[in-house]
Amino acid sequence: MSYPRYWQPERVRTVLTTESRQKARELFLSTHRPFQRIRVDFCKEPDVATPFVTESELRGILHAAPLSAHNRLFFVVGEAGSGKSELCQWLEYTADEDSRLPIHIPRSMTTARHVIALLRGRLNGGRLTTAHGTAPPMVRAKHVAVSALMLLYNTTDSLSCSRSQLEAFLSNESLISCMAARLEQDDDTAGKRQRLVVEADVEDICSQAGWHLMPEALAELSAAATDLLERAAGEALWLGDVHTLLTELCSRCVQRGQRPLLLIEDITAFQVLRDVLLDYLLDLSSGHFDAVIGVTTGFEKTQLAGAMLEGDLTHIHHRLRARFVLTDDQGCAYGLAEDVLCFSSAYLRAVREDRASAMPAAFTSDSYDLYPFTETALVRAFSCLREEGNVRQTPRLFLEHVLGAVLQSEDIPSVTLDRSAYLARPPVIFRRDQIVDDRLESLLRWYGTVKDRAVTLDAHVADFFGVHVPPELRQGERIVVPRISAGVRLDHVALEEQPRWDNELHELQHWLDTGERYPSRETLKRGIERILFSLGDPRELTGVQCRSLAASKVVYARGDEHLPMYLEGDSGDVPADNQHPKIEVTRRPSERGILEELAFLALPGNEIHEACSNLALTLEWAQTRWQTYHVRLRDVLQTHLGDCSVEHVIWTGWRMACAIAGTPWNETPHIRPFSDASILHSAGQSLWVEANEQSLRQAADDLMHWHDVFRRLFIGAFMLHDTMLDPVHCAAFSADPLLRGRHVLDQLATLPLRPLRTAPFKIRPSGDPLYEPLAALQRYCLLTGQLDLRRQLQLHIQELAARHRHLRAQRGLQFDRLPRLLEAFRLRCGQLGIAWREEWSAACNLDVLNAQTIRRLEDEVHELNGPVDHAKHADAPNVWAYHDLRHRLIALRCHPYWQVKETLDTVRQELLSAAQVRYGSDRIVPAVPPTYRRVLKELRATEAELTRG
C-alpha cells in the first residue's frame, strides 16, 4: 500500500548523488552541512590547539600560507563515503579566488591522461592538450610502440601469449600505421580519445602479416597487446614530464598572485600518476602547491605505506602540514551522529517539491521536517548502519541506504529499512503474539519509542502509512505494545513453552532493567549452573588435575547439589557473606545477552551451542564466574587455616603420618600405603614409649587413624596420576620456607578449630569432614611443639652414653656360660619358691647374644650419638629430624640384648627379694643400679652360694 509522497524519484536521484560533483553548485551548497568535527594530526600550523577543527578552520589553515611558501601537503583521511569528496568540493567552491587557484581532481578523473589534461588545461587557460600534442601522429605512434616494447621487456609477470609473438606484433609496421590513424582522428575530435587498437585491428594486422592464429590465441594476443599499448600510451603521450608541468603551473600561478590549491578527492584510485605526483609534492621545495589529498584509512595504512621505500608512513607524515581525519577508529564520521537530524532535514527539504506546506506533526522534531521519517527512526537507522558487519556511520551510507532507499521505494519506510543489507535490524523488543501485521511489527521496530515496559508509537504515523492497528493496542493517540526480551530467538522455543518462556523472559528483562524482584530466577540459575558445570565443579578445591583413582579431594559441601547463586539487587536472593560465598550475577549491560541465552539454556532440550550465539564469549563469562567463586571458597577455607594453605595442611599431614610410622621423607615424597595394620596401630605406642609421653602416644595414634585420608589427599593435590608427581608443584612446596621451619606446624598447632568444626568442607569421596583429620593433626603438632627438644635430646645423649658404657663393659663376657647360669637362676627360683614364668624363657633368647652382636650394638649406639648431639646443638631443633632420631633410638632399644638384660634383671630382683625374706642376710641384698656386670656378679655370687650350700 502506498502513502503520500511529496517528491519525484528523479528529484531524489538528483539530490542524493553518490559523488558530490554530480550536483549543481547551488544544490550542493544548499544541502551541504558544515563539518563540525574534523580531527587534526601531525599539524605543523601554529594556533591550532584543539584536536578538532571545523571545515572553516580547515580552510583557514589552507589559506594561511604566504604566496611564496613551499609545497604544503595535507591529507584528508576517512573511510569510504565519509565526506572527503564533499570537503574537497566545498573547498573548491569556497576558496578565495583572489589568492588561490583551486584545481579539483575528482575521483572519476584519475587516469594519467585525464589528470595531466586537467593540469595542462589550467596552464593553458582551459584547453586540454597532450605532452606530445604538436608531434605528428606517426611519430607519436612509433613512440607508443617502442614504449610498449620497453614495458614488455621490463615486465616479469606471466603473459597469456608468447613473448616472441607479442614482440613481433608490437614491431609490426601495420600496427604503427593503425595507431597513427587513430591518433589523427583524436586530434580532429579535440581530445575525445578512442582506444589506439581494438581486437578487430589485431586480427587485421595478423592476417596482413600472414600469421594464422586460432581464435583463442588471437584473443589472448589481442588482450595482452592492447593492455601494453594503452599503458604505454598513457605514459608516453599523456604523462610527459609531470615535474616540469607542475613547476610551470606553479610559477604561472605565483606570477598572477595565486597559490595553486590542488584538491585530489581520492588518491586511492590513482594509478601511474600517484607516485609521480606524490614524489613531486613530497619534495617540499619543488613548488608552491597547497595540496589536499583524500585517502581512505586502509589505503593509507597498507598500500600507501607499502609503496614507500621505508615501508611505513613516517616519511610522508614528517612532510605533512596536517592530517585531517573524518572518521573514528570504528568507521563513524565525527560529528554526524549529533547532526543527523539537521543533515537529513537539509536533504529532505531539497528533495521536496512543495516546500512551503507543513508536514504532519508526527514527523517533525524541533523545527525539522523529517517526513517520512521521525527522529526516532532516523537516529535508529543511523545507529544501525553497517557495511560487511562493520559499524559504518558515514554520510554516504546514510544518504544512499536510508534516505535514498526510503524515498525511492514503493513500500513504507520501515519495510524498506528492514530489507536493507546495510542496516542491522533492531531486535524485536515487544510481544509479537499481539502483532499480526508484519508492517506494524516493522513500523514498531524502526519508529517505536522504547520505554521501560512497552514500545509506543504515535498512532498518526501508522495511520499515515496506512498500517492497520488493532484497537487493543491503541491507547488514545498512541500505540502501546508490552515489551519482552531482546536477543533471544523465540523460534527455538517450543510452541507450548512460549507463553511460559515469554513470561520468564519478561521477568528476567525486568530484573535486568530495574534490579527488582525476579520470581522465576531459578530458571536463569539452572542455565548458569549448566554452563559452569561444563567447566568442572568449582567446589572442588584440591585435586582437580589429578587422574588417580586413589585421589581424594577437599570440597565445599554446603547446601545441595546446586551451586549457590545470588542475583544482585532485589531479585529475592539473599546476598553472600564472607563465610558463605555465592556465585554473584550482576546486571551489567554487556551481560544481558549472555544471561538471556543462559535462561534460554535452562529450557528442556536446549543445547549449549544452540542457546549461545557466541560460545567463546559465554564460556569466558562462565570461566570468570567459576574462577571467582572457586577462589572465594578457597579464601573461606584460608580464613580457617591462617597462613597455611590447604595444600600446606595436606603436605604436613602426610609427612607427619610417615614420620610417625617411621617411613619419613624429606624433599621427594612417597605415597606408600601402610599395609601392615600392626605398624599403624602401634606406631604411636612404639614411638612415644615413656610413661610421660602418654598424650603424645594418643595423639600419634589418632593422627595415624587418618593416615590413608592424608595419603589420598596428597595424591590428589601433588600428583598428576598414580606414578607421577607434579614436579613443579612438589618442587615449590619442597622449597617453601614456611614448610622448612616450624612455621606451618606452629600455625596448625594454634589454629582455632572451633569455626572449622561447622565449616562445610569435606573430603570426597570418603565424606569425612576436613575438620577431623585436621584436628588430629593439630593435636599432634601442638604436643610436639610443646616438647623441649633440646632437653629430650640431652636425655637421649645421656641414655646413649649409659648404654655405650654398659656395652663396653660387656666386652669380656663369656657368652657360652650364660645358658648354664640361667639354668642356675631357674634352680634357685625353685628353691626359693618362685614360679618360673614362661615369658622369662621366651624373652631370654640367649642364642642371639654373642660377642659380635654386642660389639655391633655398641657401634650403633656410638654412631647414633653423633646425630643426636648434632641435633641438640642445631640452631632450632627440627621436629622431623627428631622423629627420625627417635625411631633409630627405639630400634636400638628394641635390640634383643636389652630384652635379655631386662628379663634377667627382673628375675634377679625377684630372687634376691625372696632370698632376703628367707635368709635375712645382708650379704645378699641386691645392689643398684642393675647393670649387666652386676647381674653377672650376682649370678656368680648366687652360684658360689649354691655350691657352698
Binding site: 561444563s534 567463546a616 621427594t668 605415597i671 618442587a731
Partner: protein, 267 residues
C-alpha cells in the same frame, strides 16, 4: 645424539595428558641437560617396593617418548636411561602450549601430525560441536582416513590434549567437544602471529601464520572457522584485542558477516 623410539605414533600415547607433558617439559627446561636418574627422582615418588615391570617409571618414559617424538626435547646419550635431556623450543619465549601446537602442526611426518589433523578436519568442515561418538566417523570419512586406524581411544586422547591446549572445550557432561578456541590461546597465538606478519596488524596474515604453524583457522571454503570467529569476536568484545576494518585495506577476512582487516592486541 641417539634416536628415540620415534616409530610410535604420537596419537597412540593415549594414557598421557597435557599436564604431564607440560610438567616434564618445564622440568627439563628448568634443568637443561638433566639426566634420566635425576628426572626420575623429581617425578617418581619414592618407593622401596619392587618394581619388576618398571611401572613406576612407565608414565615418565611415555611422556619423554612423546616429547621426543614431537621434537620438543632431545636426548643426548647412549640410551634413554643414560641420556641427558634438553628442550628444543621452536618458538622462542612462547608458552608451552604454542610450542606443542607448532610441533604437532608442522611435524615432517604426516602421521605424526595426526593430532593436529583431527582439528584441521573438523575446522575444514566448519564444525562447531562434535559429539564424542561422531569423531571416529568423521575421521574415517576424511582424507586422513588411511593414515592409521582411528580408534575412540586415540580421539579421546586428542580431545583431552586439544582441550588442555585450549583449542577446544571438552564438555564431559554434554559428551561433546566445542570447537571454539579458548580466549587465552587465541590471544597468545595472535600476539605471536602479529610479530611475524609483514603488514603490521593484518588479521588475514596473522590467521594464515597461525593456520600454517599452530592450528587450523580456515574452512574448506576459505572462510574463518565459525568457532574461531566467535573467539575473535569475544576477544574483541572483552577488549583483549581490537578488530576493525579500514576501507580499501589490502587484505581482510570475514568473521561471520563482519569484514575485518586489522587487529591490535590491547593487553
Amino acid at each position: 645424539m641417539t634416536s628415540p623410539s620415534l616409530g610410535r605414533l604420537l596419537i597412540s600415547h593415549i594414557t598421557l595428558r597435557g599436564a604431564d607433558l607440560e610438567a616434564i617439559y618445564a622440568l627439563i627446561q628448568a634443568h637443561e641437560g638433566i639426566e634420566y636418574p635425576a628426572l626420575r627422582a623429581h617425578v617418581t615418588p619414592l618407593n622401596t617396593g619392587s618394581d619388576d615391570f618398571g611401572l613406576q617409571e612407565s608414565a615418565l618414559l611415555e611422556t619423554l617418548n612423546f616429547l621426543l617424538g614431537a621434537e620438543l626435547i632431545e636426548q643426548r646419550g647412549a640410551s634413554r636411561r643414560k641420556a641427558a635431556f634438553h628442550v628444543t623450543p621452536p618458538l622462542v619465549g612462547q608458552p608451552f602450549v604454542l610450542q606443542l601446537l607448532q610441533r604437532l602442526t608442522t611435524h615432517h611426518d604426516q602421521r605424526q601430525r595426526g593430532l593436529s589433523l583431527v582439528h584441521r578436519q573438523l575446522v575444514t568442515n566448519d564444525v562447531l560441536v562434535a559429539p564424542f561418538a561422531s569423531l571416529r566417523n568423521q575421521m574415517e570419512r576424511s582424507p586422513y582416513a588411511n593414515l592409521f586406524v582411528w580408534t575412540h581411544e586415540k580421539l579421546a586422547f586428542w580431545s583431552h590434549l586439544a582441550s588442555f591446549a585450549g583449542l577446544v572445550r571438552r564438555i564431559e557432561r554434554e559428551s561433546c567437544v566445542l570447537l571454539a578456541p579458548q580466549v587465552r590461546l587465541a590471544k597468545d597465538a595472535l600476539t605471536w602471529a602479529l610479530g611475524s606478519v609483514e603488514q603490521e596488524g593484518c588479521l588475514a596474515e596473522a590467521l594464515e601464520a597461525i593456520d600454517q604453524n599452530l592450528f587450523a583457522c580456515f574452512t574448506s571454503r576459505g572462510r574463518v572457522h565459525c568457532g574461531l570467529t566467535q573467539t575473535l569476536v569475544a576477544l574483541h568484545r572483552l577488549e583483549y584485542i581490537r578488530l576493525l576494518h579500514r576501507s580499501d585495506a589490502a587484505r581482510s577476512v570475514l568473521l561471520g558477516d563482519w569484514r575485518v582487516s586489522d587487529v591490535t592486541v590491547l593487553l
